[in-house]
Subunit: 316 residues, 2 copies
């Protein structure tokens, strides 16, 4: 519904919206009240807290790294007073960024209704929805991304497979693992294949995408698992004994018929066999890179091959 | 390399590995020291902290919801002593789960080298790598997932497009937004299309996958953006004015040639035109559902159509 919709817009915009300094008088009051009460407990003077207003009606507060002897009581008074003010002003929500060494203030915020939005390394971000109904704030990342590489030697019809050491069942599968932050799908496949098997390879295409929720290895989040078709550049296996029980070049036909494997490996092995016999253009999702609307950024796009005649917008 | 490899195994297994109670005597000592020092400050008795050992050599500690008057000093002594012990025992890492109301202990842990792994709602999880070199612990979710719906009316050759209200440039695009936690790709597309435009639709296929890093709307994380082909079930537009500036059924050919759009919309419009004219089997990634290896779970798999003859493992 319309209501829900605003959420979805917000989702992408909340974080990208450049905050605007809030010039309304109510910002000053809590600022002063906190700085004064802090100064009572600290000889140092320090920058008073500023409440930044974003274009979605949200308020952002950054706790500084240094709040020498500020105590929770002073923070609680300021927060309670500020929340009253923000509600009176019709603000939608509060984002509060807290350095890990200032975490004693988290419980104070929680007592006022704040919850964790996310936390990473040395900072946590808490949020409080100020309006009626449930929060419309965007959530944090929901998926981990794993990538496997189906490395096929077209001269021999053999594909590179491994058996994990740390799995209950020793099913044959394609080597793979989780993406590092900021790593492209194809690069994850190439890195994982090399780390597990010692084989160097190059990206040819994307073959399949799997989405799975409540993944046991994803801290309760969802898992996106992609399999890429790779071309081997080297052939001599030197697999990682800590990770792999076995590693070999296996006849693709054998893998396609094998029972001793996972459903997805079997399915993609058959897809690969189809492409190997009748042309990879029947199974590939080629990749193209495009400039993003955000200056300087690029993205990679995967879809079925688009004939040249359809690339000029006419199809002629 | 092999070293790196272990990491990758760990990544999927850390969280899924069922913790085993640690029976070694060194666990008892810190437990007692903490419980005693806590009881000094609290009349209540409570369950002393237990260090759980996982099969990857990591230790997990859950701080209880109730630690009435336990002070940071007692926790710090226990933690320092425990870390010494864990290192002496050759443990790999520590996972510490802290209820939000106990967050005063986070700064204490941070002073001993802990950092945030993640946090959500009312709990934060901190980690400390105990061994040489950089941490091999698995990271948290790295991607948000956005889905758009290309709703094509095959009787008129018109496709449903919108202009966002909250964007600087008013480019025509397919309606879409971020996946809710645990929501399948196709369901996100259907929900988003309905919320933005009032049009009901059904999932036909996946058309494209885009991966983009450092996405401004993803709190510094990566963004996976998928476009699905949907079939309209209703045709009367009632768009969300808070989200959309405009919404209309536009000739697909016009959209494919239009300059006033985003590169990805233009690209997928041409792909859709190709499928509309020459057969959707040329552009579709159909979906199949499979049982996961984890009991009771299912996943959805998307790839090029696999001929029946290749579904029996023979290709014959």
């Amino acid at each position: 519904m319309p209501v829900g919709m605003l959420t979805q817009t917000s989702i992408r915009c909340w974080a990208s919206g450049v905050p605007i300094y809030c010039r309304t008088p109510w910002c000053r009051v809590p600022k002063l009240s906190l700085s004064m009460s802090l100064q009572k407990h600290s000889p140092h003077s320090f920058l008073p807290l500023e409440a930044l207003l974003d274009k979605f009606g949200g308020v952002t507060v950054h706790l500084p790294q240094e709040l020498p002897t500020a105590h929770e009581g002073a923070f609680q008074s300021w927060l309670q007073e500020s929340i009253k003010q923000w509600k009176a002003e019709g603000r939608a929500a509060v984002w509060m960024h807290i350095p890990i060494l200032q975490s004693r203030f988290i419980a104070v915020a929680a007592a006022e209704g704040f919850t964790f939005h996310h936390a990473e390394l040395d900072t946590s971000t808490l949020t409080l929805w100020l309006r009626e109904g449930q929060s419309r704030l965007p959530g944090f990342a929901t998926h981990q991304v794993g990538v496997a590489g189906a490395v096929l030697d077209v001269d021999t019809g053999k594909v590179l497979v491994v058996q994990d050491r740390n799995k209950a069942t020793n099913a044959w599968k394609f080597p793979g693992g989780l993406s590092e932050p900021g790593e492209d799908i194809g690069n994850t496949a190439i890195r994982e294949v090399f780390e597990e098997t010692g084989i160097r390879s190059e990206f040819k295409s994307l073959l399949s995408i799997r989405q799975q929720h409540k993944h046991p290895g994803a801290f309760g989040k969802s898992d996106m698992y992609l399999i890429c078709r790779l071309k081997p550049l080297t052939f001599s296996i030197s697999f990682c004994p800590q990770e792999c029980l076995k590693c070999e070049w296996m006849d693709l036909e054998k893998l396609a018929q094998m029972k001793d494997t996972t459903p997805i490996t079997s399915r993609v092995a058959n897809l690969l066999l189809y492409g190997f016999r009748e042309g990879f253009e029947k199974i590939d999702l080629p990749m193209r890179e495009f400039p993003a609307v955000y200056t300087g950024l690029f993205y990679k796009l995967y879809h079925r091959e688009l004939p040249r005649t359809y690339q000029n917008g006419t199809g002629l």
